[in-house]
């Protein structure tokens, strides 16, 4: 049986590790072993989050509500409408971004047609920007793994 961890310390440890990684990322330059090591450490921190999340009990599967005595499982669904066009509000902007990114990639000239990557390079050129981008990346990974 897996031992359950309690208290806030797993989150604190993960937060300190993440902060350390952001500082390391701010101090590194792309195409260097230090940058590669920082990214690999980021993989390890976030992928370790899954077992940690389960050991703390936060990742336990929710128990479905059942109607007492009826043996009927109540499945909670989104209250929103089901028609596909209503997804346009959140699907169109990312699709537009992907299309524009592809158009910029096809043009090839990064100075005239900057892609998201080249825009991120401008942010990464600044240590604080690189640290902030690393924090956003780690947060996204953490959310992906633990949700």
């Amino acid at each position: 049986m897996a031992r359950r961890l309690s208290g806030p310390w797993p989150t604190v440890v993960a937060g300190v590790a993440g902060l350390g990684l952001c500082c390391a990322a701010a101090a590194t330059t792309p195409f260097t072993p230090g940058a590669v090591a920082t990214v690999v450490a980021g993989y390890l921190v976030v992928l370790m989050a899954l077992p940690l999340h389960r050991m703390t009990g936060a990742g336990a599967a929710p128990v479905p509500e059942t109607a007492a005595g009826a043996g009927v499982t109540i499945v909670t669904t989104d209250a929103g409408p089901r028609r596909g066009w209503r997804w346009a509000v959140v699907v169109v902007p990312p699709v537009a971004a992907v299309c524009w990114e592809l158009l910029c990639v096809v043009h090839g000239d990064r100075s005239a047609w900057p892609t998201l990557s080249s825009l991120l390079d401008d942010v990464d050129a600044w240590p604080i920007g690189r640290g902030a981008a690393c924090a956003a990346w780690l947060g996204l990974g953490w959310a992906l793994v633990t949700r």
């Binding site: 792309p30 902007p93 990346w137």
Partner: protein, 66 residues
């Protein structure tokens, strides 16, 4: 206005569209799915989640290590 300026204007417009999508979905009172719902659908199940995590790993490599 240079080509670069025009391209940047489109990027800003897309960013505003993303924010507007979140605001509209948030103010719909649950009638319209938001980015949270989209993320939940995108990561629903082990295969989709694995694909998303691999995409996240590529993103970090691309942004910080190359």
């Amino acid at each position: 206005m240079s080509t670069r300026d025009g391209v940047l204007v489109v990027w800003v417009a897309i960013a505003l569209l993303v924010v507007a999508g979140a605001v509209v979905a948030g103010r719909s009172g649950g009638r319209l799915p938001g980015y949270g719902t989209l993320a939940r659908v995108a990561t629903d199940g082990p295969v989709r989640r694995t694909v998303c995590v691999l995409g996240w790993m590529w993103l970090g490599w691309h942004a910080f290590a190359r």
